[in-house]
């Protein structure tokens, strides 16, 4: 088939479109990894503090935003104070707008229930510096307020005052959280990751260096199910399953076609 690449794109596009328009309601199994993170946050309350770092670029927003929203909603629902920041410049506005939107939904007050520190480059020194004193790394918050002028940031000085760090990432940033915050300061770290990064971080999960992993849109759907709050992740899972089905069928068809071609005595492998 000439230019079969476009047929593959077309088939997947049509399949995803139909699955988004027609809700199939496919069953969803909750994985242990997602449940672990859910229970970790469930074990915290308003006396604890969660730091959420938006370590991603704008291009991965369709995958990481449902994940980030699920954990932010969980924190706000349990009245856990949230300290937000970004170690990628493109994550700065994405993280801030998400926290503004969700805090309005859950009626959480800025300064008391959540604070956004903004962006810092040089992630290694930023992560290490926050272990000593957050005020040395961020003189003020994203809105320009002095940190000691806000009740929440006034009482959060370093990792000793933070119970969990969640790195919402599309790259290797959780590795640096493990290297500099976990190894040096014993800080608990969870990675909310794009699916493509998951296999790189499974060794850290197995070794206990990461306290949990949320893997892509599927984990977002699972988390939304555990929260009893279907959202973008849940909506996307039907389409994801359909796309995976089409790709699996295409892989089988392609291999059978190749096998039949090779069986011919004069068969050549034309690509």
């Amino acid at each position: 088939m000439r230019d079969s690449r476009r047929w593959v794109f077309g088939l997947i596009g049509v399949g995803v479109t139909i699955a988004l328009l027609v809700r199939l309601g496919m069953p969803l199994r909750i994985t242990d990894d997602t449940r672990t993170v859910y229970e970790l946050i469930e074990s915290l309350d308003s006396t604890n503090v969660v730091m959420i770092s938006f370590d991603h670029e704008a291009s991965s927003l369709p995958e990481v935003r449902p994940l980030a929203q699920a954990v932010v909603d969980h924190c706000f629902r349990r009245e856990i104070p949230v300290v937000g920041l970004a170690l990628f410049s493109e994550g700065t506005a994405a993280g801030y707008s998400l926290l503004v939107e969700r805090s309005r939904e859950f009626n959480r007050a800025y300064g008391t229930d959540w604070v956004y520190l903004g962006f810092r480059p040089q992630y290694a020194s930023a992560i290490l510096g926050m272990g000593e004193n957050i005020g040395d790394v961020f003189e003020s918050d994203f809105e320009g307020n002095a940190l000691d002028a806000l009740p929440l940031s006034e009482r959060v000085h370093n990792y000793g005052d933070i119970d969990l760090v969640i790195s919402v990432a599309d790259g290797s940033m959780p590795t640096y959280w493990v290297e500099y915050a976990r190894s040096r300061y014993e800080q608990r770290v969870v990675g909310a990751l794009t699916a493509v990064m998951v296999t790189s971080f499974l060794p850290y999960l197995e070794s206990g260096q990461l306290d949990g992993i949320l893997a892509g849109l599927k984990a977002a759907a699972e988390y939304e199910y555990l929260l009893g709050q279907p959202g973008a992740g849940t909506r996307g899972m039907d389409a994801q399953s359909v796309a995976h089905g089409i790709i699996a069928v295409l892989i089988i068809v392609g291999n059978v076609q190749l096998w039949l071609r090779r069986r011919k005595p004069d068969g050549h492998n034309h690509s």
Partner: protein
Amino acid sequence: MTIETTITALLTLAIYSFLVGDNPIYKFAEHLLVGLSVGYTLVVTLKSVIWPQTIEPLFSGNLISVIPLLLGVLIFLRVSKTMAPWSRIPLALVVGGGAGVAIPAMLDARILSQMGATMSGATTWNGWVIVVGVSATLTYFVFTRKSTGALGFASRAGRYFMMIFFGATFAYTVMSRVALLIGRLEFLMGDWLGLIGS
């Protein structure tokens, strides 16, 4: 359907037009994306870092911030043929400091902790799979001896372990890319055209 939504939707379609073939509309959207990304990063860095950490303290009489500012300026001297050696000072500081911070941290987190977890995990079935997988994969990278006999068998086993890893990674990559497609199609059909309810 707001004007912002329509502009976003049209730019999404412009990027997807690459599937038909390279074209000027795609090129325009691509260049716009690159330009905006650089511009955005520049503004965020100026607003969040350079202004509050160097310029503002300077105006308020904190002369110590002259040092990072000066080091930053020295880096740009690379473009000058005569002054270029001065740019080595900040680079040496960055490389030296960076290596000093990174090497012990990486050794601990990526090698020692991982080795410890691999060895101490050999009390369960999964732990043994990891021990065998790591050992076999390492033998694949023994290049000083010919891979025959037991070494050849272990090396082949290592190759199969790596293939399983590559397969799993590729599957996760497909999952990730499909998620991005779903996000854009959901935006086009939901936010833009209003065909999908919330």
